[in-house]
Structure formats: C-alpha cells, structure tokens
Point group: C2
Chain length 334, copies 2
C-alpha cells in the first residue's frame, strides 16, 4: 500500500490517477474460462474483485468480464469469447470533475484506467470517485468566500484562522476600493445625506443579484453544462435577468427613496427616486454579467473558478453601483 500510495502521488492533485488502485484480476484474452475461474478461487476470498480485465500481449486493455458472464459461460471458451470488448476507461491525468461527467451516466462499480497507449495501469472505484466529488463540490460555497476545502468543522480555530484570514485581508483591500468610490463623493453625501442611507440597499441588492448569476454559472461549469463558446450567451442572459430584476426591485427602492425624501422635505424627491431606479437597474444588469464573468475568467486564468469569486464579484458590484448612484446624484442634483 505504501508503494501504491507513492505511485498515486505522482499524479496531479484532483486527477483520476490519485484515486487509482492496482487492478487485481488481469488476464490475457486467450485465457480459458476454466483457468481464469480457478486462478481467482483463492483471491476472491481475500480481496474484493468485481471485474476481470482482459489485456493483449502488450498490456493493452481489450475487454472486461463480470463474474455473471463466467457463471453462464462454457468453461472451455476463452475470456475473449465472453468479454465486453473495447470497454470504457478513464485516463489517469483526467480531472475529477471531467471524469465525473464521463461516468455519471454509467453505473459501473469500478472503472479501468489506461495510459495513452491504452495500457491498463489501474482501476478506480466509482464510489471513491463520487465520494471525492461530493467532498470537492461541497467545498464550493466556502471557496467563493475564501474557505479552503481542507477546512472542516473539526478544524482547530487557529488553523482555520490561518486558512481564512488572508482572504479577509484581500476582501478588506477590495472593500477599500469601494470605499474610495464613496470617498470621492463625500461632498455629494454631505449635501444629501439620504444617499448614504441607500448605500447598503444598493450594495446588498447588486451583490445578491451578482451572486445568483455566479452560483448558476459555477454550477453549470461543475455539472459540465457550460460548453466553450457559450460564455457570451450566458453573460447576455444574465444581463437581461439583472436588468429585469434590477428594474423591478429598483421601482420599489425608488418608491422608498421618494417617500423618505418627501418625509425629510428634500428639495428634489423625484430626481432622487429616478436616480435610485436608474442606478439599481443598470448596476444589477452589470452585476449579473460580472457574476457570470468572474468564474469563467478565473477558469480562463487557470485558477479554480470558485476561489474567492464572491470577493472579486462584490468588489466589482460595489464599485459599479456606488459610482453610478453617487455619480448620477452628483451630476444631476448637487
């Protein structure tokens, strides 16, 4: 097991190679059923053998045989007579996510793994693949806000602090960028303090709208639904959705702004309401596009598409929404 472990380590993290076990029932195609059955009589008592793998003289995988077939076969036939020929197999360097897409419609308990020359080099249990997959996917929501997938509920707090803190510093840095935008409009806020009241509303709406687009895109990528060349279609759809959602919530937010401005006897309540509506609609549309864009861009850059995606996204949505909202107010009213 130690040696096998070392061999597995040679494959990159999150690849099929890392989960491989040694195949334990490999036979040449010309082997008689009788011989194959006899040679496994002791082995089946000690190890879990699910399939017999059939190879040619060069170790290339040519077929797979289940015990069910052996049971009903003529003992003098060869494995070649009963095997499922040219069976499905995985490559060791395949990403777990991609491997999952390949196997999700097959229901095999064990998958053979072959190298580029089709030589059988290992097997991977389907449940190990899915177990690992569950572990990876369940880490995504955390990954978006800067939680490492190594962190579990049982992780000691000091170690968790080390994992999470760098991302919070990044988040602080990006929050300063958003603060810079508000800072640039201090004069405007000084004259219309009501604008400050709507900063959390706008920020919260855009961030949630963007995160919906982010989550849908990320899930599509995880489930293998996002094909190359689809990026613009996805971004277009999120733009429409963000626009519609922004306009509908913007109407209510504008009504709220109008009511507060009237109550506080502000000089131009209608202008404030229109600014709120416009800022909400446009910012949400841009937030939707940004939400679809961030994971696609992260993947394009060779990074994990989920990592810190929410941190990058909320910076973008904050900067855009604050600039639009305060900029419009500065230009129109103040």
């Amino acid at each position: 097991a130690g040696e096998q472990w070392l061999e597995d380590r040679a494959w990159p993290e999150n690849t099929v190679g890392r989960l491989m076990e040694r195949p334990n029932a490999v036979f040449l195609a010309g082997t008689r059923i009788r011989e194959a059955v006899e040679s496994l009589r002791e082995a089946v008592k000690k190890t879990l053998i699910t399939y017999l793998y059939v190879v040619d003289a060069d170790d290339r995988l040519v077929g797979v045989v289940a015990f069910r077939e052996l049971l009903y076969a003529n003992a003098d036939d060869t494995l070649a007579d009963v095997m499922v020929p040219t069976p499905f197999f995985l490559h060791p360097e395949t990403d777990l996510i991609d491997a999952m897409h390949d196997v999700v419609t097959r229901h095999y308990p064990v998958y053979p793994v072959c190298d580029d020359a089709n030589r059988l080099i290992g097997v991977v249990r389907g449940s190990v693949l899915f177990e690992q997959q569950t572990f990876e996917i369940s880490a995504q929501a955390g990954s978006m806000v800067g939680v490492e997938k190594e962190e579990r509920t049982a992780t000691p707090w000091l170690r968790a602090l080390k994992f999470r803190h760098p991302w919070l510093q990044l988040n602080l840095f990006t929050a300063f960028v958003a603060a810079g935008v508000v800072g640039a409009f201090q004069d405007t806020i000084n004259r219309i303090v009501l604008l400050a009241v709507f900063i959390p509303v706008l920020s919260g709406q855009c961030s949630n709208t963007g995160c919906q687009a982010l989550a849908v895109t990320l899930r599509g990528m995880t489930l293998g639904e996002v094909r190359a060349g689809q990026a613009f279609a996805l971004m277009g759809k999120e733009a429409i959705l963000g626009f519609a959602n922004g306009a509908l919530t913007g109407l209510l937010a504008a009504a709220g702004m109008y009511a507060m401005a009237v109550a506080q006897q502000h000089g131009n309540p209608l202008a404030l309401a229109v600014i709120t509506f416009l800022a909400m609609t446009c910012s949400c549309a841009i937030s939707g596009v940004a939400g679809a864009c961030v994971p696609l861009a992260l993947k394009r850059l060779g990074a994990d598409p989920a990592t810190a995606s929410s941190i990058f996204l909320t910076t973008a949505t904050d900067v855009v929404s604050m600039s639009l909202f305060l900029g419009l107010a500065a230009w129109w009213i103040v």
Copy 2:
C-alpha cells in the same frame, strides 16, 4: 416503467424511495445454488443483475449473494449457505443527504431498500444516489442567495426571473432594514461624512466573515460532521474566529480611518480609528456566530439549511455592524 414511476412518486421528494427500482433477482433462503443460477440464465441477458436478494417467507430481507459467490459455491448448497447475512439496507423515507452518509464508506453498486418490517421493497443504484447527491450539493451555493435547484444554465431567462425574483424582493426588504439603521443615524453621518465612506468596508467585511462561517457550517452539515449538541461549540469557535479576524482586519481598517481623518483634518481622528476597530472586531465576532447559527436555525425550523441563508445572514451582519459603528460614533463623538 410507468407503474413503477407512479409508485416512486408516493415517497417524499429527496428521499431514497424516489430513486428506487424494482429488485429483479429475489429468492427464498432455501433455494439451491443450482436452481438460482438456472432461473437467472435468461434474465441476465436482458437486465443488469448485480446481486441476488435472499428473503424469508414473509419477504423480509435476510441476505445478499454476489455472482462471484455463486461461481465458487457447491451447486447443491442453498443460497443461505453463501449469502452475506443481515445485509445493510436503506429505508425508503430516508433523506438523500442522510442516505449518502450511510453509504459513503460502503462501495456497493446497488443497495436494497426495506420497509419498517424489513421487507424488501426495492433497490437503489449507488451511482444514482451519488448522481442525485452531486446535483443537490452543487445547488447549495445558489440556494444561499436564492437560486432554486431546478434552475440550470439552460433555463430560459423568464423562468429564471420567476425563480430568482422573489428572493431579491426578500433581499430588498431586508436591505431596507439595514438602511433603516443608517437612516436613524443620518445626523451623525451629516456631521462626520467619513463614516459613510466606511459603511461598505464594514458591511463587506462582516458579510464575508459571516459567509465563511456559514459555508463551513453548511458543509459540515452536508457531510454529516455536525452532530446534535455541537451547535454551541461551533458557534463558540466561530465567535473566536470572527473576533480574531475582525481584530486583525480592524487594525488595518482603523489605520485607514485614522489616515483619512487626519488628511481631512477631522477633529478627533483617534476616536474614529478606535470606533472603527471596535465596530469591526465586535461585528465580525457576531457575524461569525450568526453564520453558524443561520443554517442550524433553518434546519431546526424544518427548512433547507442553505435556502436564502446568505440573505438572512447579511441582513443580520449589516444591522449589527451599522448599529455598532454609527451608534458608537453618535455616542462618543457627535
């Protein structure tokens, strides 16, 4: 298949019962190996039979037999002689999440499903269970911000709008609550407009700190790591983590506040810095606790622990952080 489909529908959504198939190789314990093998000779050519299920006269599951065992058994023995007795089985009403915890360490391709009287009523393929599971878990990040798990990247935009919009209206409503807090301190902001600049910083930090705690707790629940009675321990850990993360980022934020206050020749830069530090530290600690609390509370209330959790959480973190920050400033300086 139609009839089977109807039967499956009788079980609640997201339960094992919904994924059941009819068991296709069921035998009485006294059946001779020879008879069992013969009776399946034709069936194995048509359907995928992985295990033989052995029941007693009352249909109660008493054992499971693999073809491997049949191959090496004495043909005159009975299934009772070679079966794995008292096998593991699932209950039809078990939640998929709970079922996954039960099967994750087993590597069976098919699991028997029995009713409360141990009667065999169906089988569930392991890969169907895990496929469904992958689908469910990959929906969590979206669920947190109000995306239904039915929504995929290919969902038309109008349908996606119907799915997402109600949650954005909820988010708007909760954002108004946070805005109400800021509104209550308009006089304070009017006197120290620099406070408005730090609203996005504080809001962003607390929301991200809280979401980290939320994601870790939710994942722990998904992977079955969170046991009953652990809630307070988890909340305590997140309080410490939030406090430490808040203090460390709070120092930097306070330094930023100090620098800006000095640059703008504010009367009391030190007080503003201390207020920023205190608000950041305490709000992040409370956000951490809230992050752990929200999914546990949602589950306790019988809801899905992920649903809209981020929306509820950010409302809480916004209200707490704004109240602390602006309240401290109003009390101390203004």
